[in-house]
Amino acid sequence: MSGLSLPTSSGTEERLVTTSIWTIALLVCGVFLWIVSDVVLNGLAGLSISYLVEAPAQGGRAGGILPILVSTLSILAVALIAAIPLGLGTAILLAEFTRRGGTFPTVVARSLDVLAAVPSIVFGLFGNAFFCVWLGLGYSILAGGLTLACMVLPILIRSLEAAFRAIPDEYRLAAAALGMSRTRTTLSVLLPQAAPGLVVGLVLGVGRVLAETAALLFTSGYVDRMPESWLDSGRSLSIHIFDLAMNVPGGEPNAYTSALVLIVMLLLINGAAAWGADRWVRRATGTS
């Protein structure tokens, strides 16, 4: 909403529109609150320190989720380590090193939009064929993370590219007039300005990674033991929730508790991303 208080008329139309807008907004908030409160109310009872530091027992009905947390974070780490440099590089190439409106960036951008809309199960099949079989990684955290990196890349690139394009040309002109190379300009002047785009891309990407189930069934598998290397199979939290809710009789209370952990983890990671980006921007711009 803008900060202006525009004049309102007292007509029926005005009241109708106002009521509708508020109703829709309350509905959206209501659904969100319903989901969160459902998860919190049903999941909080099972949450304890031991739940976080113990291995699951009896197919997840008892015990904790430590190996699953480790697998989830490992898959996330692999996905981000692969996706962030590739995403940054591609976004910089598209926004800074190709001619605007040219054929190449347009074709790449359209392809990315299509990729972003591809169902995750298709990425799962691709990841299984390419990473697990062709590259011989088998069902592993590495294969799962790399598959998710492919899924996250389109979102990350597009939001970073938009952030770079939103930076006014005056900085590029100023840098050129000062005899600065395009590379230095991009790294020292433009990149800190694109940080908000990186955060948006990361928040969306991390959300997608943590929520992913289908693609991981094909790539990282669902073994719930503690993984010993990147090449071990590992079960992610979302798969654990799916398994408890669908395949394990009496697994529902723990499914709720795992869901609660997942939501809290998502919020913590997003908060950390925003905080980290802010710290980095302060350092990169030399402002204290």
Binding site: A174, L178, G179, P192
Partner: protein, 301 residues
């Protein structure tokens, strides 16, 4: 805002910082100094470079924007380019440091020479060229970085790494634009927190830090309030004899106050042309061109 003191000569550029010495490419031309040169000025900083445009025409795609502009910009002098909007003044200015290269579809013919050497010669190092020919834009455009880093960054890129040297240069150039006393206690805060006039002076300091030979100003005061504008104008006037200055301005009174040479651009047949050039007095008092007479009279009123 604080009123600035004019810069004293001791604070100005040190003699060893001559603009033409460090690079072999900018050694003085072997030819004798061109014929239209004024006599060497005793107060001239040793590195001041002569710049000449010879038959410069610019096309944006098919559209011809300026045609056949030949103009000599004498070393250490302030040359003002005046004329109505859309007559190609800024376009012409952007050919002088080849910023025109950055505009898609922009083609320049003719030649621009800096101390006799063509800046359009094949293999010209654009990065080195733009360090020699600084440019200040209409809208102040400091980087969204700290004040300190705004000055350090281009210097580092030019090869100065030592922190003490960098800080020394920073203090010197900020003093030379009268900004030191205003910002010395907040060098690490964002340059965007400064006022418009302070930002523009920071941009001038940033350009001066690279120790250029020529400074190009593209209507540097037109986005500023009258008080800041006066401060910046005074600063530009103080750069005389230290740098060859070319300034595009809409403001006839400003041209009259600070310029020594004047070039008048005009649109004829849809294309910008140079219709009058010469010393300030010559153009403002003695022109016989009726268009120029009218324009100057209009600008006075």
């Amino acid at each position: 805002m604080k009123k600035e003191r004019p810069v004293t000569s001791e604070e100005k550029k040190e003699p060893e910082a001559a603009c033409c010495s460090p690079e072999p490419s900018c050694a003085p031309s072997p030819e004798p100094v061109a014929e239209d040169c004024c006599l060497p000025d005793p107060g001239l900083a040793p590195g001041c470079c002569r710049m000449t445009a010879e038959g410069v025409s610019v096309h944006y795609g098919r559209k011809k924007v300026i045609e056949d502009v030949s103009l000599a910009m004498a070393p250490g002098r302030i040359t003002a380019i005046i004329g109505p909007s859309g007559c190609g003044k800024s376009t012409f200015l952007s050919t002088l440091n080849r910023m025109s290269d950055l505009v898609p579809g922009c083609a320049v013919t003719g030649d621009v020479r800096l101390e006799g050497e063509s800046i359009f010669a094949p293999g010209t190092d654009l990065i080195a060229l733009r360090r020699r020919i600084g440019m200040i834009f209409q809208k102040p455009n400091p980087f969204p970085l700290s004040i300190r880093r705004n000055i350090h960054l281009p210097l580092r890129e030019a090869g100065t790494r030592d922190r003490e040297t960098l800080d020394g240069i920073t203090e010197r150039v900020l003093r030379s634009v009268g900004l030191w006393d205003e910002v010395s206690d907040r060098l690490d805060s964002s340059a965007h927190a400064l006022s418009g006039g302070q930002q523009q002076r920071l941009c001038i300091a940033r350009a001066v830090a690279l120790d250029p030979d020529v400074l190009l100003f593209d209507e540097p005061c037109s986005a500023l309030d009258p008080i800041s504008s006066a401060v910046v104008e005074e600063l530009i006037a103080s750069l005389r004899r230290q740098y060859t200055v070319v300034i595009v301005t809409h403001n006839m009174a400003q041209a009259r106050r600070i310029a020594e040479s004047v070039a008048v651009f005009w649109v004829q047949g849809g294309t910008g042309r140079l219709i009058e050039q010469g010393d300030l007095e010559e153009v403002f008092e003695g022109t016989t061109n009726p268009i120029v007479q009218d324009y100057i009279r209009g600008g006075r009123g």
